[in-house]
Every structure is written in C-alpha cells, then in structure tokens.
Amino acid sequence: MKIHEAEARQLLADAGLAVPDASTATTPAGARAAAERLFSGGAAQVVIKAQVLVGGRGKAGGVKLAATPQEAEQVAAGILALEIKGLPVRRVLIAPAATILREIYLAALIDRSSRGVLLMASAAGGMEIEEVAAKSPEAIVRVVAHPHAGLLPYQARQLGFGIGLSGELLKQFCVIAAGLVRIARSSDADLVEVNPLAVVPAPELPGGERLVCLDAKVTLDDSALDRHPELAAWRDADSEDPIDREAREQGIAYIRLDGSIGCMVNGAGLAMTTLDLVTQAGGSPANFLDIGGGARSEKVAAAMRIILADPGVKAILVNIFGGITRGDEVAKGLIAARDQQDRVVPMVVRIVGTNAKEAAELLTAGGFETAASLDEAAEKAVALAGAGGAAR
C-alpha cells in the first residue's frame, strides 16, 4: 500500500529525522492559512505539492512555489483542480521552500537478491534512482542492513563515505540512514525513500550545512497491515476505485486493464499466463483476476460481479486448475452468478484438476461453452468477444 507524501513525512518526523514543518489542505483557503503560518514563522517562500499516489507530479504541474499567502491560495486552487495520470488531486502539502545546496538520494527497500533490507544512496539526488542507475550505476552505493539488528553504525558510515560525505554531514546522514531502516522495520515498509535528502545552509553548525528530508515515499507491506491499524487507516479510500475496494475486501487480486475479455483464474501465475495467451490469440484482456486457492462458490459469484462491473467486458474466460480449489464449487458459483446477473456476456469455461468431471457435468447441464485446453479457451474467448475483442 502506497501512502501519501504527507503521511510518509510524518513517519520520518516521528522517527526523529529532520523533516521541515508542513501542513496539508484540501481547499485553496486552507492552503492560504497554512502558508500564512509558515510565512509568519519566517519562510521566504512556500512550496505547494499535490498529494497523489503516482510519480511525475512535478512534470504534471503538481509542485509549485508561492511567495505570498495570496499566491499560495491561487497556486493551490490550480493544483487542486488538476488530474494527474487519471488521479484527481484532492489534497496539497504546503511546506517552507528550502535553499538547496545539493541533493542526495537515499532509500531503504526490501531487496530480493540479498533477501534483506537494502540501503541505496547516491550523491545524485533529485532524479529518479532508475535514471541514475541507467546513467551512472557506479554513483549508487549499496549496503544490506543486518537482518535483525538493522543498519549497523559502520554500515551507515560506509554509505556516507561512499557518496563523499564527511564531518558533520556524515554524522547526520548516518542518523537518517539508520532511521530509514528503523522505519522500514517498525512500519513493515517495502520502501522508505527520501529524495531529495537535501543539503541546506546551517550557519549555526560546524561546516555550515545540514541535511533535511524534503520528500518521502513509503510503500507498506500489505501482508503486515493487520498489525499496524494506525497505518492501515492511512489507506486513501477516496482515491480507490469502488470495484478495487470490493476485490480487496473479498480477497480477490484484481487489476483492471483496457481490453474486452474478462478473465477469472485461480493462481497468479496462471492468471498472467491466461492474459498472455488471450493477447497472443489476438484478444485483449479486460483484467487480471486471481480468485486465490480454495475459492468457494460465493467468491466465484463476487469475482463475476467485479468482472461485469467493467462495461468494456464483451466476453469472459474462466480458467481453473483445481488443486485446493474444487472444480465443482467453481461451476456452482458460475451457475449461481449467471442467474443473478443483469448483463449477459458470452463465456467460455475451462475447469481441470480436482473434481473436473463433476464440474464438466454441471457446466454441460447449464449450457456453458467449455474448452479442454487453455490455448483453446483463449481462442474461443477471443472469438466470442468478436470484433469488440480488440482494444477499446
């Protein structure tokens, strides 16, 4: 689960890291009030940032400066009227604009290869890390945190020296790096990214510079949300599609796509394969949908509702390989679902494995179109979707 910058900053601040004071607002007037507080607190300029769960908001005009409360209100009004990559902007963050001397990239993330929490740092902050990785991979310094003890002090120093820091900045960097790992572990986050981690003037300190976290991106592990109700409450239900929410609540993995063939499959790998074969057969899948293992007939009916809620669906392909899941349960669910449906679309069903024979009898009795192999099912589905099978 992705959380907004505002909440990610709060996690950092709660961990004692240097994050500039900021507020959020859902209205231009609110943004003005927030800006007034910051200006009276000594800010020379404020930055107003769209809170949306997609990247690239800067290029989309979602991040702007303002020099007065009035300007902040106008700028916020503009941003709150935006839609960025299809997502409406419902909230903005208002923070003092910093004088940035240099930008650093720093992130703690779950890493598959090392099977641990990987710290990545680069002196080339501000840009996307993928860009740095492509242009100058040697500029990225990596350290894997200790699996139980977190980031050890020597590891933090290795990272900091690795990107050329020293003295007071190095010390601050080490505190922040260890803090990111602590946040990742205590919040069960897959990713805690600070970009930019900015070097700003600090005349009061030896060296005259300090580090502040100017942006933060945090992705939480869905499997661990149960034990963090306070974080789960941050789910942005407003920006979640109602159908996506139903799927989540039913324990169904559902991703809407742009095509016309609705797919219902058990197992993520098989579901991806089904999409691949539909595409290969010249069709265009309307969704990824995994009903999971051992699904009962009620879940099958829910999956059907979810698929049909997409008006683009012109045909449905059901592909079940029974293992834990019993084929006859799925067949019963399909029959029940069809009876409840308002909208009728052609359907091809392929059920093999556990209780496939019982399923076949039920389906034949119910007049369903069936298929023996996955390839055949994909071809039939494409044919059923007809001319509408191409991308909408």
Binding site: P147, A253, A268
Partner: protein
C-alpha cells in the same frame, strides 16, 4: 533419484491439527510420504491423521522423539516466520513453508535464522515439491495435486502454483515424467531460488532435463540463467515466463510479480534464458514439444 524429497524424507507437519494442515497431510500420506509427527503448540500429546501420528508442542520435542528431518508448515501467516525459525533451530534441514501472506520483514529475519542453522527453506507461499517414483511409492510435500504427476526424469522448478500444475499436466499428458517438481514460491523473499534449484537438479543423476517456469518481477530468472549458461550445458532445458502481457507498475497477484521501471520484464527474462540455451515456450502446452526439440527423449 530426485531432489529435496525422497524415500528418506521423515516429515513433520507444523500445523497438522489445523484444517489445511490435516487435509494436505492426509493427501501426502496417501501419496506415500512418511509423516511421522505433527506440531501444534498446546496440542502436544494428541494424535492426528486417524490416530497414526503423534502431535508435539514444540518442534524440538518432535525432532528428538521421532527423528524428523523435514518439515512442512501450514501455520497461519502471523506465526509462520516463527515456525520456520523453530524448525531450523531444532535441526530440521529441509523446511517447506506453504503459508502465504507472511510479512516480508518477518521473512528477512526467519531466513537469516535458517542460514545460521545451516538449513534450507523452500517458500514461503509455495506449493511444495513432489518426487514421483516408478520404483517405489512417490513422495510429495505440500499441496501439489498428486494426480498430475508421472514418474520420470525431468526436473521442474516454478515460482507459481496452478501454473506449475498446468505445465506438469501437459508434460504428463505427453508421456514426459518428472524426477522432482518443485514450487519455490511467488514472494519477493524466498528461501530457495531458481538458481539454487538448478544447482540441485544439476547434481541429481536422475534428472536429465530441466523445465523452468518463471514470471515477471525481480531478477531471479536472469540470475539462474547466468549460472545455467556455464553450468547446465549437459542438460536439455526449456522455460516458460508468465506475464508477457502484464502492464508496468502493477502487482500481478503474487507479491513478487511486478514490473518496476527497467527491471522484472518478461522480455528481459526470456532473452537471458535463451542466451543461456533455454528454449522458451509461449504457452505451457508447448513445453513437451520444446523438450523434445532440445534433445530430450523420455526413457522407454
């Protein structure tokens, strides 16, 4: 003879008294697996599987009383990482974790404990492994349906569940049997990787060809291909990668299956595997034909 599970496997089932654990343990036993103990904290002293199998409070007790050398874990997600650590600390060397939805940070810790004790974890969120055997009864650990297997000499390794069944069924239908069929699990952090599995198959005299079934996300297929290019030249090898049609940035069901930026794409995996001498199928049903084209012929 096979990898990971065989006639010497003396299996304990953690969570044997639960619904899932009990059901699949009965299936395993029916296939021929020796299930010699169960562990459910608080249920020690009971007997399970039609009164044939003792249940213990702790893995340490179970191992010391029965000599179990492998474990299959059906413990709910909140306690599964602890169950893995318990098995490793008790000296179990081969640990299968079927449970899905384990928090990934829990797995980081559990895997470090597994390594500290010199054990091997398969999974989590994996279907297990089956070694069908023509000579005596086969052995299966986990939840792979028994019906899809045929004794043989092709090693199968896969990140997914039902897709594996699909692939294995198509092999069996074509008369191509398996030495061991292994599901390594679809999570980002897993105990045994594709490369680990290939190393095991390479060292197994009974395995004469390899089927690798991967999917988008991460770079485990590329890492396995890099190793196989140098070390697996003696075996015919084919592969299938799911997710060619998957959009970027969306997690396709499996926590591990996501294309992020330039990494995890099906096309890169397919290129890497082809460069390492794998024939890559466009559908699981093509695997038997490609195996033959790669030079494999079932023993008659």
């Amino acid at each position: 003879m096979s990898i990971l599970v065989n006639a010497d496997t003396r299996l304990l089932v953690q969570g044997l008294t639960g619904r899932e654990g009990g059901f699949h343990a009965a299936q395993m036993a029916a296939y021929g697996t020796q299930i010699i103990a169960g562990v459910t904290p608080g249920r020690g002293g009971e007997r399970a599987l039609n009164d044939t199998t003792p249940v213990f409070n702790t893995v340490a007790e179970a191992v010391s009383a029965t000599g179990a050398n492998a474990s299959c874990i059906f413990v709910p997600a909140a306690g599964a990482a602890d169950a893995i650590a318990e098995a490793a600390a008790a000296g179990v060397k081969t640990i299968f974790c079927i449970t899905e939805g384990i928090p990934v940070h829990d797995m980081v810790g559990a895997l470090a404990i597994v390594q500290r004790h010199g054990a091997r974890l398969i999974g989590p969120n994996c279907p297990g492994a089956t070694s069908p055997s023509a000579a005596n009864s086969g052995v299966k650990v986990g939840i792979i349906p028994a019906s899809i297997h045929l004794p043989g000499d092709v090693g199968v390794v896969s990140r997914s569940g039902t897709l594996t069944y699909e692939a294995v069924q198509s092999m069996t239908d074509a008369g191509i049997g398996q030495s061991t069929c292994l599901g390594i699990g679809g999570d980002p952090i897993i105990g045994t990787t594709f490369r680990d599995a290939l190393e095991l198959f390479a060292a197994d005299a009974a395995t004469r060809a390899i089927v690798l079934i991967g999917e988008i996300g991460g770079s485990a297929e590329e890492e396995a291909a890099a190793w196989a290019g140098d070390n697996l030249k003696h075996l015919p090898r084919v592969a299938f990668i799911a997710g060619r049609a998957a959009p970027e940035g969306r997690r396709m069901g499996h926590a591990g299956a996501i294309v992020s930026g330039a990494s995890g794409r099906a096309s890169d995996k397919i290129s890497a595997l082809e460069a390492a001498g794998f024939k890559v199928a466009l559908s699981p049903t093509e695997l038997p034909r490609l195996l033959r084209e790669a030079g494999y012929a079932p023993r008659s």
